[in-house]
Symmetry: C2
Subunit: 253 residues, 2 copies
DNA sequence: AAGTGGTCTAGACCACTAC
DNA sequence: TAGTGGTCTAGACCACTTG
């Protein structure tokens, strides 16, 4: 009985516009409908239309200048937060087939670093999952993820080679509210090098990721190593918005 | 005669709140002033106060839940876009002394890649500036920046070892509206290794950056190499906002 | 000059939280 | 139950762009 309260009007309008823009309408610098046109069309006040546009502007979908009609901001795939979190969703969105080879999935005592990241006492039991993530069959990333023990049953009952854990968690009512990623460059250690099929010492993008629920509880802490020749991150920012995305490295050697 | 139009009311309110939060008021989960309190205090309508809060929420400074007072979102230094763009501003914000060693500053013909990034015809003249950027005296980044020729007089009249070009451009009326950063890991080439004082093949964070004015004209295209052991990037995202920052690498080896 | 987005007001009702 | 934020309306004036 999860009562769905109907979404607000401005949301509906924003979604309609976003979909039309994705579909290629408003392409060639022609300008979007004006606020007055939309408020007539939807039978709402101008304030509601402005609220819809505020949301689109914050996510980088449209730009605006006083006096002129709003413009659709082309190209940039509106990567949602879930797309940045889920390897599977991301892979599918760029037309690759996601896959993974499970290396480990076991409960262990936590080290100081892991315990701190998960807000637990050092030595607490945590679930440690190690997977090599594949893009259409070739290794792209080594994922080292730690979950608090309470999530262990949920995770271990999944098919780690095939399922998207992120999607599974969402379906089970674990909502991912906020994530923090730290991105740096490190050399491949022998062990990582072998798993990713690169030379020892080869440059890797190492990201650590900490994801929390709306109430602040930590859902996962993950240390990921991307092949430096396979993946890059894109940050796009303006006064109005900042967006981030993961992309396959262009001109990869 | 640059007439300063006074900023809107909601901006003033948002700035006041942001500064109070930075200063540590509203620290211990006590909740911010309510909308009605603020509208009384400033003598404005509730809509104006909400506009101020919308801005703070979009930049990740406050969170809100229906029914409860808004909360300040601790710690995260509100890095503005300019702080991500300007090495000097960033260095000062983390308490380091910015510096640079100029390597090259000359006009040259553009390669295909540079010309494409600057929206010019291949072979057009561009200004090429190469600098080693220092954090309190030690090399942290090699910066390879290309400017369209029209900006050459402005750039060349600066003291490249000391001035912040970003700040100089802003003062001269060149407003930086949008930037796109691509971040990946690459091995140090012999030449770069020597300039950054690292071993050949050492992992570096390479970012390419393309910055545009409000009218879409490209201001700069830059290829930067950060020492992998010195610098990291942080991306923090939630449903409400995404922010990015550059940080010095923790536990650097 | 007409149209557009930016700012602001003064109300209203609702869903939710805190006590 | 009182207070809070979320949604929405119907107006107003202004700054700016476009013809």
């Amino acid at each position: 009985m999860t009562e769905k309260t109907s979404p607000p009007l401005y949301r509906r309008i924003a979604d309609d516009l976003a979909e039309a823009i994705r579909g290629g309408a408003y392409g060639g610098g022609r300008g979007l409908p004006s606020e007055s046109e939309l408020s007539r069309a939807y039978g709402v006040s101008r304030g509601t239309v402005r609220q819809a546009f505020a949301q689109l502007r914050a996510s980088g979908v449209v730009s605006s200048r006083q006096g002129a009609r709003r413009q659709a901001q082309g190209e940039q795939r509106l990567q949602s937060m879930s797309e940045l979190l889920s390897f599977s969703q991301w892979a599918r969105s760029i037309g690759e087939v996601p896959g993974s080879r499970e290396i480990t999935a076991a409960t262990t005592g936590s080290t100081a670093v892991v315990a701190a990241a998960l807000d637990l006492a050092e030595g607490s039991q945590v679930l440690h999952v190690v997977r090599v993530r594949l893009l259409s069959g070739s290794p792209a990333m080594l994922e080292d993820t730690y979950y608090p023990e309470r999530l262990a049953p949920l995770i271990l009952s999944a098919d780690l080679a095939r399922d998207s854990l992120t999607e599974r968690l969402e379906r089970q009512g674990v909502h991912l509210e906020e994530a923090e990623h730290h991105i740096r460059a490190v050399p491949a250690t022998p062990c990582v090098a072998e798993l990713l099929d690169v030379a020892e010492g080869a440059p890797l993008l190492r990201t650590t990721r900490r994801t929390t629920e709306p109430n602040g509880r930590v859902v996962e802490f993950s240390v990921d190593h991307y092949r430096g020749d396979a993946v890059a991150f894109v940050v796009r920012n303006s006064a109005a918005s900042t967006t981030t995305a993961r992309v396959t490295a262009p001109g990869a050697g």
